[in-house]
């Protein structure tokens, strides 16, 4: 558990987190507009800001108590900065070695081994002897992530590590971070202002507004609120969890589980280990009976659990699928009235389009 209550004054800006408690497992995403204090909070949690006050405990260990602060160098954390912050006078290997050598009780040969394994894991094996000034943005972040992991942290902080990257590098690094989180079991705090990154990575979301934590909730709950700040750009979104199968005779692949099955037409290079599917509510229609003669592949039986009038003649309908996952549909108020929809009604959710994340 990471729990505390931190304050920090920085010129005009004031961070007042309010009491918070985060499980020390999985990926917690700090989400909010720029300037809301995400980075300030993360730096205070990492112990990088001397002006931080308040209390902070990690797994029962005291990290901050009033003005007293355990130095960042003694917190066993890893930190990945927005611009990687690699040491410019060293090669990629030198940067990794800087971290590996400072792990207590590590022998030089052990450190070399760990560097090789880690470089392989983050995909920078071929770049090890390059000066970091020659690396691309994505490569730099890979080295930065590897460097943070080599310090053998108990908590990994990532401060908008993808914001400076192009979409290709972004997608690759999202997959890498997701994989590392699952393989290492290392708890992560991840900052972003991009809803797609939240939906891709988050186990839980820490919503920040004007320097305080407005709410901490699991991703599924965060996505079940039609007024969620995550929906500011593209409207309500659902994230379905499941496994991807191999292609069938028609070239389609199945996503889901025993009780839920979606048919997907995917490019050949789609990541076979992807576990999340993103569905925009506006791409989901509802039918009270199973429609015939329709080109839409995915017609999922569902039960209406709630309906929210979002204004502007739109209604968000929250449906529960056969396996218990929730799917949001956005329909017009006119359709809602015409179909006489009600809570508890069994309907068919027609999914026009999905995006595989990863």
């Amino acid at each position: 558990m990471l729990e505390g209550d931190l304050t920090l004054r920085q010129g005009q800006f004031e961070l007042r987190s309010g009491p918070f408690a985060l499980p020390a497992q999985g990926i917690s995403v700090l989400f909010g507009k720029s300037g809301c204090g995400k980075s300030t909070l993360l730096r205070a949690i990492a112990g990088l800001d001397q002006a931080a006050r308040g209390s902070l405990h990690f797994k029962g260990e005291r990290w901050q108590d009033g003005r007293w602060r355990l130095p960042a160098s003694q917190r066993d954390i890893g930190f990945v900065f927005q611009d990687a912050a690699l040491f410019p006078h060293l090669t990629a290997r030198g940067n990794l070695a800087f971290a590996a050598r400072r792990v207590p009780g590590i022998s030089p040969s052990d450190a070399l081994n760990k560097i090789a394994v880690c470089a392989d894991r983050v995909g920078v094996n071929a770049l090890l002897d390059q000066p970091v000034t020659t690396l691309s943005g994505g490569q730099r972040q890979r080295v930065a992530i590897g460097r943070a992991l080599l310090a053998q942290p108990r908590l990994l902080c990532l401060d908008e590590p993808l914001s400076a990257l192009d979409w290709q590098a972004k997608a690759e690094l999202l997959a890498l971070i997701d994989r590392l989180a699952r393989e290492t079991g290392l708890p992560m705090l991840f900052i972003t202002h991009a809803p797609q990154e939240v939906e891709r990575l988050a186990d839980r979301v820490v919503f920040m507004v004007d320097g305080h934590i407005a709410r901490i909730e699991p991703l599924q709950e965060a996505l079940a609120r039609p007024d969620s700040p995550l929906f500011a750009e593209e409207g309500p979104v659902s994230v379905l969890h499941g496994q991807l199968s191999a292609a069938d005779a028609d070239g389609l692949r199945h996503f889901g589980n025993v009780q839920l099955r979606l048919h997907l037409s995917l490019p050949n290079d789609a990541n076979p280990s992807a576990t999340r599917l993103r569905v925009l509510a506006r791409d989901v229609s509802l039918a009270t009976v199973q429609p015939q003669g329709l080109s839409i592949l995915n017609q999922l039986p569902a039960t209406i659990v709630a309906m929210h009038d979002r204004g502007r003649e739109r209604v968000t309908v929250i449906c529960q699928l056969a396996d218990g996952q929730q799917l949001l549909a956005e329909i017009t108020r006119y359709s809602c009235n015409a179909l006489a929809l009600y809570n508890g009604q069994c309907v068919f959710a027609l999914v026009k389009s999905v995006a595989l994340m990863g």
């Binding site: 730096r43 990088l48 930190f79 900065f81 611009d83 912050a85 690699l86 006078h89 400072r102 943070a148």
Partner: protein, 230 residues
Amino acid sequence: MTSLTPSEWQAIWLTAKLAGLTTVILLILCAPLAWWLARSGSRLANPVAALVSLPLVLPPTVIGFYLLIVLGPQGAVGGTLEALGLHHLAFSFWGILIGSVIYSMPFTVQPLREAFAAIDLRLLDAAATLRAGALDRFFNLVLPLSRSGILTAVVITFAHTVGEFGVIAMLGGSLPGETRVVSIAIYDYTQALDYGAAHRLSFILLGFSFLTLLAFYSINRRVLRPLQLR
């Protein structure tokens, strides 16, 4: 250079010793001072910077005069030493060493301060999260990242001390092997109308200074500049 007399060799060696010790002492003193000036944001930073820079604008005779008072037999420092049964510091090597340290200090502090101020603080944060404590960060990150500034400080401090005259003339006089550095020797030869000897030593100083600066600019451009690219 067989034409150099033993006393001229002595002056050259004394000059090298004075400049070398001054440089070492100043690097040790000024590294923390420059860091504090560059990074503390303290309200005292500007007054202290002004104080340290005084030798840039004051006539060396003024510094030499005050040091003569303070370090001499009646002064606060010299008098105390006498009371302890030691010798005062006027007209001694240790006296001109103190004078050189004060006189050359701005030439060490300024390049170091600029180099330290240019370091990206996030690199230090990154090192802290990699278990590097304050001293570890200073020696393994700040110093290597500041090597261009450190080289500048070393070269300029050494060369500037070699070229020192006024403070030593006021404070040290011209005692062979003790305070008679090359610049003083040149002055003495000129006063004695021994232009041949003055020529020899002057030419040596001119050549040394030029070659030092030439080497410095070549190294700094070719080797160190690429490192500063981010």
